[in-house]
């Protein structure tokens, strides 16, 4: 068991350009079933052994793809996400950076009445170690196990996965929810999935300053948490009012500050690591190992 991804995941690649084909190859290397890709006008041909389709609907008909990964450039990313949702894909993982907020507002409005789960955009994707990787993360740093892991950040995810793996703490599913202000699966929803996943024994929540997703996740865990959790917040030292790369990391008023997030987790009984290096120890303590 796991969330979002498993051995039956059948992936369609939307946008088989330089980045898309590079990562498609890496996903296949990992054992992920990459069953097709869309390339309008090239339907019926193949590229690197991957069957190509003109539209997502055709690809789904022919391949039974249940997941897609979106690499198309930002100006076309909304269209790609909506096409995948329209075709009834269960899980869409959008890697694309720089999607306009207005586009994401439309996409998330459509998601409200769809059965699709969207992870991202502007995230590294998701991985269920040992089963399937649908994303751009370096697989070497992940290992199968019981720690579910949600993060808004890319490289920090790899860093922490690496720390966990080195500490002998494998992961059930790691979800990079993406760093944009409007995303398909915000941290609280991703935490909920892991909380309800029998294969997940403990949850690591890696947040950032900005927004109130961490506060809401803490609130959710306080009310519904079934398993121990550990948190980390990046950006505790950031001065207020400065943007740090992610548009999301704008501190306004009291909401979204590192203090507010740390307090929320502490009130939910969730220990907060001061540095990524503390996370494995806290997880072990939480699991009483």
């Amino acid at each position: 068991m796991s969330v979002l991804l498993d051995r039956d995941t059948r992936v369609l690649v939307q946008g088989l350009g330089r980045e898309g084909s590079f990562h498609a190859a890496r996903m296949r290397d990992y054992g992920t079933k990459v069953v097709g890709a869309t390339k309008p006008g090239k339907g019926g041909t193949t590229q690197d052994g991957i069957p190509l389709f003109d539209t997502v609907a055709e690809a789904v008909d022919s391949t039974d793809a249940n997941t897609s990964i979106v690499f198309v450039p930002a100006p076309y990313a909304m269209d790609a996400m909506l096409e995948a949702i329209d075709a009834g894909i269960d899980l869409v993982i959008a890697i694309t950076e720089g999607v306009p907020v207005a586009d994401m507002l439309k996409v998330t409005a459509v998601l409200e009445t769809a059965t699709t789960i969207l992870v991202g955009p502007n995230g590294p994707g998701a991985i269920t170690p040992g089963q399937a990787k649908v994303g751009i993360m370096p697989a070497e740093n992940f290992s199968p196990g019981g720690v579910g892991f949600v993060s808004r950040s890319g490289t920090l995810t790899y860093e922490i996965a690496d720390l966990l793996t080195r500490a002998g703490l494998g992961q059930s599913t790691c979800i990079g929810v993406g760093g944009d202000p409007v995303i398909g699966l915000p941290t609280p929803d991703a935490v909920r999935l892991l909380n309800e996943d029998p294969a997940t024994e403990a949850i690591v929540i890696v947040g950032e300053i900005g927004g109130s997703a961490e506060e809401r996740a803490a609130e959710y865990m306080r009310a519904e948490g079934k398993k121990p959790a550990v948190a980390f917040i990046a950006g505790r030292s950031a001065p207020p009012g400065k943007r740090m790369g992610h548009a999301g990391a704008i501190v306004s008023g009291n909401q979204g500050t590192a203090e507010s997030k740390v307090r929320a987790f502490e009130e939910a009984g969730i220990p907060v690591a001061n540095a990524p290096s503390e996370i494995p120890g806290l997880v072990k303590r939480a699991l009483r190992r």
């Binding site: 306009p100 907020v101 507002l105 409005a109 370096p138 790369g245």
Partner: protein
């Protein structure tokens, strides 16, 4: 990307929102001529990309063209929060009876735009938001339907707008919302929204921030982009695909990935130091990238050590190490470097770095501590 008041007001006027008659001026002469053309009294207003210009003396009311000239002379060249004023907007003074607040921005939690309306507008709206949030009426229109008439109506009732201003304010709210959508704004704000003595409603000030990610489809607005002196470095970094924010410490920071860089900043602070900047090189960390990033970081004279924290992901750690070595050998930096490699092939990378003129550490915490230590040493000759 921020627009100036006069640019924002032109966009509001185009959408049918009433604004006072106004002209741009870059000299005192022009300001005087503008005041004469418009008819005094006028307000002379600094056009700078920061808030709080009113409190900083950047807005003066002039009763005659000559006074407008003096006001412009005083304001032009003044510094507001470190930004030099190079333009003023001369605008007919409104007959202000009351000041409302009207704004549209993103509500991240609801994943919807939020429209805010208050009858206690003006300079202290942030304090109102803090202390009396119930004085700000809020509505969350569907991004698929826009701000519907009934929603605008509900807002004016909820905010307690007086009967005479209800229809015009609801109308302005819908028009401002259209501007927000059509310009791909992240913030569209009229504060204050004047109620004049004759009961008419007029945009007193206007603020419009555009989503940088949407500039590709807003060519007209993209042309309005201005880079002020203190933003030049950030702009240069952006052109290279980096994300750079100047801070006030002395440990230069380079890393890949916003979250990792933020965590690195935190580690520096936890080690007792202060970061000089935030610099995220984004994906990859090849030679050229490292060199450009170092150039940007070292352009800051306060930097006394540099910490490079790279997670070798798809890019291998040994490749990164080779890139860094090349830079260090061909362009030796003026301050000590500490590098921390992790992830794929990090050990191989660290082996390559052994003996090079830089500190290499295995963990983020150790590397931060070393960079902080080096920053406190005397600068090399």
């Amino acid at each position: 990307m921020k627009l100036h008041e006069f640019q924002a007001k032109q966009l509001l006027a185009r959408a049918g929102i009433p604004i006072p008659d106004g002209r741009m001026a870059t000299t005192a002469d022009e300001a005087e001529a503008a005041a004469r053309a418009i008819g005094a009294p006028v307000a002379v207003k600094a056009q700078v990309h920061v808030g709080g210009r009113g409190k900083a003396g950047g807005i003066k009311v002039a009763k005659s063209p000559a006074e407008a000239r003096d006001a412009a002379k005083a304001i032009l060249g003044m510094e507001i929060k470190g930004l030099r004023v190079e333009k003023v907007y001369v605008e007919r003074a409104a007959q202000v009876d009351r000041e409302l607040y009207l704004g549209v921005t993103l509500d991240r939690d609801r994943r919807r735009p939020v429209v805010m309306l208050s009858t206690v507008g003006g300079m202290d709206i942030e304090e109102v938001a803090e202390a009396n949030p119930e004085k700000i009426a809020r509505g969350w229109p569907s991004p698929l339907l826009g701000l519907l008439p009934f929603e605008a109506r509900s807002l004016v009732f909820a905010a307690g707008v007086s009967e005479k201003q209800r229809d015009p304010v609801a109308d302005i709210a819908r028009r401002l919302y259209s501007v927000y959508v059509e310009t791909d704004a992240s913030l569209a704000e009229i504060n204050p929204l004047f109620v004049q003595k004759d009961g008419s409603v007029l945009a007193g000030d206007a603020k419009l921030d555009i989503d940088d990610n949407a500039l590709f489809r807003q060519p007209e607005l993209a042309k309005l982009k201005e880079v002020s002196k203190d933003e030049e470095t950030e702009e240069k970094a952006r052109a290279l695909g980096f994300s750079y924010v100047q801070l006030d410490g002395d440990v230069g920071i380079i890393g890949n990935g916003a979250g990792l860089v933020m965590a690195t900043l935190d580690a520096v602070r936890d080690a007792g130091g202060k970061a000089a900047n935030f610099l995220d090189v984004g994906g990859g960390a090849k030679e050229e990238v490292v060199r450009s990033a170092l150039e940007i970081v070292l352009a800051n004279p306060r930097v006394r050590s540099v910490l490079i924290n790279i997670f070798g992901g798809i890019t291998r750690g040994d490749e990164v190490a080779r890139g860094v070595l090349d830079v260090v050998r061909t362009h030796p930096p003026r301050v000590p470097l500490v590098i921390r490699l992790s992830g794929t092939e990090a050990e191989a990378g660290r082996r390559l770095l052994a003996g090079a003129p830089l500190g290499s550490r295995e963990t983020m915490d150790d590397a931060a501590a070393e960079a902080v230590r080096l920053a406190t040493q005397p600068v090399r000759a």
